[in-house]
């Protein structure tokens, strides 16, 4: 007889509206039900009533953390539809913004995971050092989030040449920070014990569940839209795809941390290579037809499809966010694990974030709440403490 543990409708770690129903026998998870739709905003329908320019602003509101990945896919989609090639300088600026966003998004995940494991120092570090990136974004775009920089055929604001040395300096500051995080995870025997071999997703399952981004790359699948289907300035810069083979939470964490090095390097190369020039083609109209746009968001591939009838509004606009496929793979990753690890595994795919939080654990027989959000956090942190004692740290 299995007991059902509901996690949600808000995820305890990342505060996202999703509802997981864990079926457990003793401490072991035997089955997982996932329920969605608590935050469905009808963006695809809404897009049909917006002009092409407005669609870019609309999709920017899909996610608050990776707010530039949906506009990136949207403009790729419109440029595919209209066979438009944006000016070189615009492509460099676009790539710089995408990479800055990847850095702050990955740092955020590492911080939250640290907090959940009882490593509040890592949490505070990541918040502190994320500011460096947010400052650069504010200087370049005027906003710390939702940058409103992209449009079909170019970008809305130019990057000031005088700012480049200062941005370079900021990137230099980021390198020791990434070393710090890498060391914090790599050199800690407790984290090894806590994360290694936990929540494994095999390469076969990764393909079968169509997962993307760091979730796929941590399972040994070498996919990255930036390399496979190059867009913006990515074909002109050197970088590696970070791949780990094990598919556990440790690999997913290391994959994200190593990607930070690549992002810093991409930004530096772009800044060095970009030359003054036009930044916008002033596109007024898009022809009838179909367009497909892809972009590599911090969480994986974003996919947009549009159908145009030649008017100023899309006739159909389809959005596929990376979490849409990644979350379903939890069904595999969480089976056979313990309740103390479950919430961490569910968060290891880095699902998109939202606001409030609520979590209760209910005993099925008398329908009584036995564990709250604070209890689950305590459970997870207590496991880390026990491990620390056992390793006499």
């Amino acid at each position: 007889m299995s007991t059902i543990i509901p996690i949600g409708p808000y995820h305890p770690l990342q505060e996202e509206p999703e509802f997981f129903r864990l079926h457990v026998e003793g401490e072991k998870v035997v089955h997982l039900d996932i329920e969605l739709g608590y935050n469905h905003r009808g963006i695809e329908k809404l897009a049909e009533s917006k002009s092409w320019d407005q669609v870019v602003f609309l999709v920017e509101r899909i996610c608050g953390i990776c707010s530039t990945s949906h506009p990136a896919a949207a403009i790729n989609c419109m440029e595919d539809l209209g066979a438009i090639v944006a000016p070189e300088r615009a492509q460099y600026i676009r790539a710089i913004i995408c990479e800055l966003e990847r850095i702050h998004s990955h740092l955020l995940w590492v911080g939250l995971a640290g907090h959940f494991l009882g490593y509040n120092t890592v949490w505070m570090w990541s918040w502190k050092y994320r500011e460096i990136v947010c400052d650069v974004l504010e200087k370049v775009t005027g906003n710390r989030q939702s940058y409103a920089m992209f449009k079909a055929g170019g970008v809305r604001r130019d990057l000031d040449q005088d700012d480049i040395p200062w941005i370079m300096e900021s990137m230099d500051k980021m390198k020791p920070v990434v070393d710090l995080f890498r060391g914090a995870v790599m050199d800690d025997p407790v984290l090894h014990a806590r994360l290694k071999g936990v929540g494994c997703l095999s390469a076969e399952d990764a393909i079968n569940y169509a997962v993307v981004g760091p979730t796929a790359r941590a399972s040994g699948i070498r996919i990255d839209v930036r390399k496979d289907d190059p867009y913006f300035a990515y074909p002109w810069v050197d970088f590696d795809i970070v791949v780990y083979e094990e598919g556990d939470v440790y690999s997913k964490a290391m994959c994200r941390i190593d990607e930070l090095y690549q992002s810093v390097s991409i930004i530096e190369q772009c800044l060095k290579k970009m030359k003054p020039g036009p930044i916008d083609l002033n596109i007024k109209e898009l022809p009838p037809g179909e367009g497909i746009g892809r972009a590599e968001a911090p969480r994986g591939e974003v996919f947009h499809y549009t159908l145009s009838d030649g008017s100023n509004f899309p006739a159909r606009y389809k959005v596929r966010a990376p979490s849409y496929t990644n979350i379903l793979s939890n069904e595999k990753a969480v089976i056979g694990e313990t309740v103390a690890d479950a919430a961490l595994i569910l968060a290891a795919v880095d699902p998109c974030y939202c606001c409030t939080e609520r979590l209760t654990v209910i005993d099925e027989e008398n329908n009584k709440s036995v564990l709250g959000q604070a209890d689950l956090l305590k459970l997870s942190q207590a496991k880390t403490e026990t491990l620390m004692k056992r390793l006499s740290l």
């Binding site: 739709g37 595919d80 497909i292 596929r320």
Partner: protein, 145 residues
């Protein structure tokens, strides 16, 4: 595997079954097929050509038609292959591909509740986004409603 061998493989295997082969550009390829050919083509793409399922988009078209476009890509290749299946609104039924690719389970549930297309042999045909007490026969993304 390169794009050339994928293209010849597909054309050899389903020569007369592909109604239209349209290359929007070198990276975006659209294939029109019959609804009953979906299962064999997807099986061939996924199992033999090792393609990766991206997503499916449903489109409500004029003239009593509905379209489902299944998007696939291939490891390390820039091409996106989109299989287009056209259905008449009088008979909105198609074979589910979730038994072949688990990753297609959610999008088929979503298309079912938003467009009213039935996926035969779907392993778990329940609501995904809409609440369980949503009225029967009310499909939010349909234009005729």
């Amino acid at each position: 595997m390169d794009w050339k061998s994928i293209k010849t493989g597909l054309q050899d295997q389903f020569a007369d079954k592909i109604q239209r082969w349209h290359e929007h550009n070198t990276r975006r390829i659209y294939l029109d097929i019959d609804a009953e050919m979906l299962e064999p083509v997807v099986t061939y793409l996924f199992n033999t050509l090792q393609s990766r399922f991206i997503i499916a988009s449903a489109v409500d078209k004029p003239n009593n038609m509905m379209e489902i476009i299944y998007h696939f890509d291939f490891l390390h290749l820039p091409q996106v292959l989109s299989l287009r299946v056209v259905l008449s609104k009088d008979r909105l039924e198609i074979e589910s591909i979730a038994p072949i690719i688990v990753g297609a389970e959610w999008i088929e549930r979503e298309i079912h509740e938003l467009f009213g297309i039935t996926f035969k042999n779907h392993p778990n045909p329940v609501h995904l986004l809409l609440p369980d007490d949503w009225p029967e026969g009310n499909y939010p993304l349909r234009r005729d409603q």
